[in-house]
Symmetry: C2
């Protein structure tokens, strides 16, 4: 294989496609939500996960204060909403989920709100967090996990058409690039910012 040098600022894109999640959080009755791409399991037992997010986000501050958040998987049919959610700020929209036509439902163990349209959800409690360059890595324990019928020990992908994120185009009109497991590609133009 002949390789070309990759610009250090683009290294993260080599990891794509990745399945994005929506992180939800609640503070003083206000619901925050944002998509996150950099999220993986870190342990089988106890079930731990790692979530890296940029600390500029309002959602990050809300997690820091409440030490609790939920992880929600929305499938390919919700690609537009995931993209939009990445562009609106919690400072402008008091209820970000409602702003993109998603529904907040009460968590099952007094946890942050979950997204009703999600195919799977995790209720998490923050354990530790570390600053890693531009991002903050949050390590959290999964207290509760719930999934649609398409998951039974494994995803069967019959109903759940996983959403795959492969980057954000920034030349010209900014847009998110999503793919499905069936090879379809969708660009979600970002209207809220340039």
């Amino acid at each position: 294989m002949n390789w070309n040098h990759v610009d250090p600022a683009k290294v993260h894109r080599l990891f794509y496609p990745q399945v994005p999640v929506i992180v939800t959080v609640e503070r003083k009755g206000r619901v925050g939500a944002m998509p996150a791409i950099w999220c993986i399991p870190l342990s089988f037992k106890p079930p731990l996960i790692g979530l890296a997010i940029a600390p500029e986000h309002e959602t990050y501050n809300m997690i820091l204060e409440t030490q609790a958040f939920a992880v929600n998987w929305l499938d390919y049919s919700h690609a537009d909403q995931v993209g939009e959610l990445g562009e609106i700020s919690g400072k402008e929209y008091a209820e970000k989920l409602a702003a993109v036509a998603l529904t907040a439902v009460k968590g099952m163990e007094n946890s942050p709100p979950l997204i009703q349209e999600a195919s799977a959800v995790l209720e998490c409690r923050t354990r530790e967090s570390y600053r890693t360059g531009t991002h903050e890595l949050i390590i959290a324990e999964v207290l509760g996990a719930y999934a649609a019928d398409s998951f039974s020990d494994y995803w069967d992908f019959s109903q759940y058409n996983a959403l795959l994120y492969s980057g954000t185009l920034t030349n010209g009109k900014k847009s998110w690039i999503f793919m499905s497991l069936q090879g379809t590609t969708k660009r979600v133009p970002l209207e809220h910012k340039t």
Copy 2:
């Protein structure tokens, strides 16, 4: 959406599909290699990555001692080899890459060996590591990154058919489940262990 409760031991599978990488390392002239599923970017600048692996692996010990490793992306055409690499132990096979018909080539900055058949590679230096339950989370800086022509700021997926891992079937004959971006699925039976 109606959700079912998910067994805590299966929470990690909700994150799938994920693109696996092959981690390579060299100690005293001996090359170690293993697939890893839990690997994400953690920072744009400097480019940092997080890699979670089980400390029982010989490869983990080699990384711990040398503080250096490489990340290699093999595409769908190499699914069988990725699966096999997960099952053979460095204790049995002195040269794991050769055992699955992959080729070790010298790294570009005096780094661990890279896999010649890889579509992209990273040369990494360990910064810190944290124990997270069953796994060890290694945070590393990317010192060098190289990719095939199919990557130019973004993957165009024309030549690079990303390999997607969606779990290991353990009932009956053990096998790894892989998918491609074109919706094809492949099970790689694991012959080396039950």
